[in-house]
C-alpha cells in the first residue's frame, strides 16, 4: 500500500456550543473549531497503517481558509501532505455537493485507501464517506473500528451495536472510521513546528478540480437537500433486554407490551 488519503472536516466543537436564548439557534462565534472526532480517528488509523506499511498519508478537506489549522493539526500528528479544497464555488454544499467536490479532488491524487470519518458532529448525516466511494466507483466499508494489513489484504473490523464483522478487502477501498473505538494520538511538539515550518498546506481552488466534476453538482446550487425543520430528538430510552427465554415466551412478552401501549 503506497498512498492513503484521509478526508477530514473542521467542525465547531459542539460540546462548547451554546444556544442563543432569544433565537434558539447555535451561537457559533468564539466556538473553538476542531477536527471532527470520527475523522481524527481516521487519521489515527491511517497513521497506524503508515507505521506498518510505510505508506504516504495525505489529509484532504473541503472548507474555508480557516480549516488550515485543522490541516496543520493533521500534519502535526504525522500526516505527510495536506490538501485544502477551498473556494466560493463550494460554499453552501450539502452532502451530495460536498462528496462531489471531494471526489473531484481525489481524482487528482494517487490512492490505494481512502479513510473518512463515519459522520460529522455538526451535520450527523454519515452520507459523505459512502457517497465519495460511489462517485469514485470503489467499494466502501463503514463503521470501521480497526484495520490490519496482511500483505495486500486489509482486515477490517466493522462494528454494529451488538456485534462486529471481520472483513477481508483489497484496495482501492474507502473506509469510514468510528471515533469511539480509536484513540487518536497527540500531535508531537516537533510535528507542530514542522507543520508550520517545513510543510505546506496545498490549497486547491475550483480551477484545480473543474475537469473532474459537473459544476451543477457543486455549492448551494448543486445541493438537492432542503432543510425542512430542525428539532431536538427525543431521548431514546435504553429499552429492556429479555434474555434466555423461549420463542413462545418472547412472543407473549412482545404481545403484552404492545397491548400495554395500546398499539394493538
Amino acid at each position: 500500500m503506497k498512498n492513503i488519503l484521509v478526508c477530514v472536516k473542521q467542525v465547531p466543537d459542539t460540546t462548547e456550543v451554546k444556544l442563543d436564548p432569544k433565537t434558539g439557534t447555535l451561537i457559533r462565534d468564539g466556538v473553538p473549531s476542531i477536527i471532527n472526532p470520527d475523522d481524527k480517528a481516521g487519521i489515527e488509523i491511517a497513521l497506524q497503517l503508515k507505521e506498518k506499511t510505510g505508506a504516504k498519508v495525505t489529509v484532504l478537506s473541503m472548507g474555508p481558509m480557516q480549516a488550515d489549522v485543522a490541516m496543520r493539526e493533521a500534519l502535526a500528528m504525522g500526516c505527510d501532505d495536506a490538501v485544502l479544497l477551498s473556494g466560493r464555488e463550494f460554499a453552501g454544499s450539502d452532502t451530495w455537493a460536498t462528496s462531489s467536490a471531494i471526489a473531484a479532488a481525489i481524482k487528482n491524487l494517487p490512492y490505494d485507501l481512502i479513510i473518512a470519518g463515519r459522520q460529522a458532529i455538526d451535520g450527523d448525516t454519515a452520507q459523505v464517506g459512502p457517497q465519495i466511494a460511489e462517485h469514485l466507483g470503489i467499494p466502501h466499508i463503514s463503521y470501521v473500528a480497526g484495520v490490519d494489513v496482511e500483505g495486500d489484504t486489509l482486515i477490517v473490523k466493522r462494528d454494529f451495536e451488538d456485534r462486529y464483522h471481520i472483513i477481508e478487502a483489497k484496495t482501492p477501498l474507502l473506509l469510514t472510521a468510528l471515533g469511539e473505538t480509536t484513540e487518536p494520538r497527540y500531535m508531537t511538539v516537533g510535528g507542530i513546528y514542522d507543520a508550520y515550518r517545513e510543510k505546506e498546506v496545498k490549497v486547491w481552488a475550483y480551477e484545480d478540480v473543474k475537469d473532474n466534476v459537473d459544476p451543477a453538482n457543486l455549492g448551494l446550487k448543486g445541493s438537492p437537500t432542503r432543510v425542512k425543520k430542525s428539532f431536538t430528538k427525543p431521548v431514546k430510552a435504553a429499552g429492556t433486554l429479555y434474555e434466555d427465554i423461549s420463542a413462545d415466551e418472547a412472543v407473549e412478552k412482545i404481545i403484552s407490551k404492545l397491548q400495554e401501549k395500546y398499539i394493538i
Binding site: 489549522v69 502535526a76 511538539v189 507542530i192 513546528y193 514542522d194 507543520a195 515550518r197
Partner: protein, 380 residues
C-alpha cells in the same frame, strides 16, 4: 511589537493543554498524596516530544524555540507543579548546559538520549554549605591520569531519584575560588556515585528531591564539561535559562489557581447569591488575573530574548522574581476564596499554594534575583 501568539504557538498551546488535561491532571492529586514520581507521565511526554523541545532535531530534540518550551512547562504546571518542574529541570538544567557547552562527542552521547526523553537529567550544584552562596563548593575533583575522582555531596537535587545523567559541579582548584570550579557529566552508574535520601517537602511532593553522594566517584576525563575552571560560569549561565523554566512553572501554578477560583466562586452560594457576585470577590479575582497576566508577559519576553540570542539574564531574573511572588500571592488568595473547602485536600488550591512556595526559593531565591537585577541596573 505583536503580543499575539503565532499560529504555531497557539497549536502548541492546544496540544499542551490537551495533554495536561487528559494525562497529567487526573494523576495530580495522587502524585502529591503519595509523593510519587509520575514515571508513566514522563514516558508519555517523551513520546510526544516534550522532553527535548528547544534542542535541534540532529540532537534528538524537537527543533523548537524557548517560548514553545516555556509554554509547555506553563501548561503542565497549571494542573501539576510536580510535572512542570520535571520537564524544566531536565531540559534547562541538564540538556541545555550540554547543548551550550558540550563537545560534539558529549552531545552525541548524552544530549541525544536526554532530548529524546530516553534518559532523565538533573543538575547538582547545591551543597549543604553552598546554597545561595554557590561559590562555596566543597565537592572536590582531582585529576588522576585518564579520569577525575570526585568526593563530596549535593542536596536538594531535583529528579535525582530517577535521573540517569547529572551535571555535577566540583572544585578542581581551591586556590582559584570560583574560577577553580569545574563541571562534569556524571552517569548514575559511575563507580562511587549514589543517590541518597528523598527529601520530604512542603510541595511539589512528586518531584524526586534527593541527596547525591560521591565517594571516590570515577568520572572519565572526557566527561569534563567545558574547560577546567569554567564550571561556575557554566552554572550561572545555565541557571539564567533555568529561571525561565521556573518562572513558567510559577506562571502556570498561578494561572491554574485563578481558573479554579473563578470556577468555584461562580458556583458557591452564600447569603442567597453566588459569591462571585460580591464585589470583594470580583476585585480579588481581577487583581489575581492581572498579576498573572503581567507575569506572563515577563516570562514570554525573557523566553523570546533568549531565543533571539539577546542578553536575557535580567529579563529571566525579573520574570522569575515576579512570577514566583505572584504565584505565591495568587494561590494563597485562591485558598482564601475557597474558604474552608480550599483548606482541604479535596480541592487542588492548597496543593497549588504549597507548590508555589518553592518557586520563590529554588534556582535562585527571590533575593538572588534581586541581586541579579540590581547588578544589571548597575547599582551593586
Amino acid at each position: 511589537m505583536d503580543f499575539n501568539l503565532s499560529k504555531e504557538h497557539l497549536l502548541l498551546q492546544e496540544m499542551y493543554r490537551s495533554f495536561a488535561e487528559n494525562e497529567v491532571k487526573p494523576l495530580a492529586e495522587e502524585v502529591d498524596e503519595e509523593e510519587r514520581f509520575p514515571v508513566e507521565t514522563v514516558k508519555k511526554m517523551a513520546k510526544n516530544g516534550m522532553m527535548g523541545i528547544p534542542f535541534p532535531k540532529e540532537y534528538g530534540g524537537q527543533g523548537g524555540d524557548v517560548l514553545g518550551y516555556a509554554m509547555c512547562v506553563e501548561e503542565l504546571s497549571k494542573v501539576c507543579g510536580t510535572t512542570g518542574v520535571i520537564v524544566s529541570a531536565h531540559t534547562s538544567l541538564c540538556g541545555a548546559p550540554i547543548y551550550e557547552n558540550g563537545t560534539e562527542a558529549q552531545k552525541q552521547k548524552y544530549l541525544i538520549p536526554l532530548a529524546k526523553g530516553e534518559k532523565l537529567g538533573a543538575f547538582g550544584l547545591t551543597e549543604p554549605g553552598a546554597g545561595t552562596d554557590a561559590s562555596g563548593q566543597q565537592t572536590k575533583a582531582v585529576l588522576e591520569g585518564d579520569h577525575y575522582v570526585l568526593n563530596g555531596s549535593k542536596i536538594f537535587i531535583t529528579n535525582a531519584g530517577y535521573a540517569d545523567i547529572f551535571i555535577i559541579f566540583a572544585m578542581t582548584d581551591k586556590s582559584k575560588g570560583t574560577r577553580g570550579i569545574s563541571a562534569f557529566i556524571v552517569e548514575r552508574d559511575f563507580p562511587g556515585f549514589s543517590v541518597g535520601k528523598h527529601e520530604k517537602k512542603m510541595g511539589i511532593k512528586g518531584s524526586s528531591t534527593c541527596e547525591l553522594i560521591m565517594e571516590n566517584c570515577i568520572v572519565p576525563k572526557e566527561n569534563l564539561l567545558g574547560a577546567e575552571g569554567r564550571g561556575f560560569g557554566i552554572a550561572m549561565k545555565t541557571l539564567d535559562g533555568g529561571r525561565i523554566g521556573i518562572a513558567a512553572q510559577a506562571l502556570g501554578l498561578g494561572e491554574g489557581a485563578v481558573e479554579e477560583a473563578v470556577k468555584y466562586t461562580k458556583e458557591r452560594t452564600q447569603f442567597g447569591r453566588r459569591i462571585s457576585q460580591f464585589q470583594n470577590t470580583q476585585f480579588q479575582l481581577a487583581d489575581m488575573h492581572t498579576q498573572m497576566e503581567a507575569a506572563k508577559l515577563l516570562v514570554y519576553k525573557a523566553a523570546c530574548k533568549k531565543e533571539a540570542k539577546q542578553p536575557y539574564t535580567m529579563d529571566a531574573a525579573m520574570a522569575k522574581l515576579f512570577a514566583a511572588d505572584a504565584a505565591m500571592a495568587v494561590t494563597t488568595k485562591a485558598v482564601q476564596l475557597f474558604g474552608g473547602y480550599g483548606y482541604t485536600r479535596e480541592y487542588p488550591v492548597e496543593r497549588m499554594m504549597r507548590d508555589a512556595k518553592i518557586t520563590e526559593i529554588y534556582e535562585g531565591t527571590s533575593e538572588v534575583q534581586r541581586m541579579v537585577i540590581s547588578a544589571n541596573l548597575g547599582v551593586n
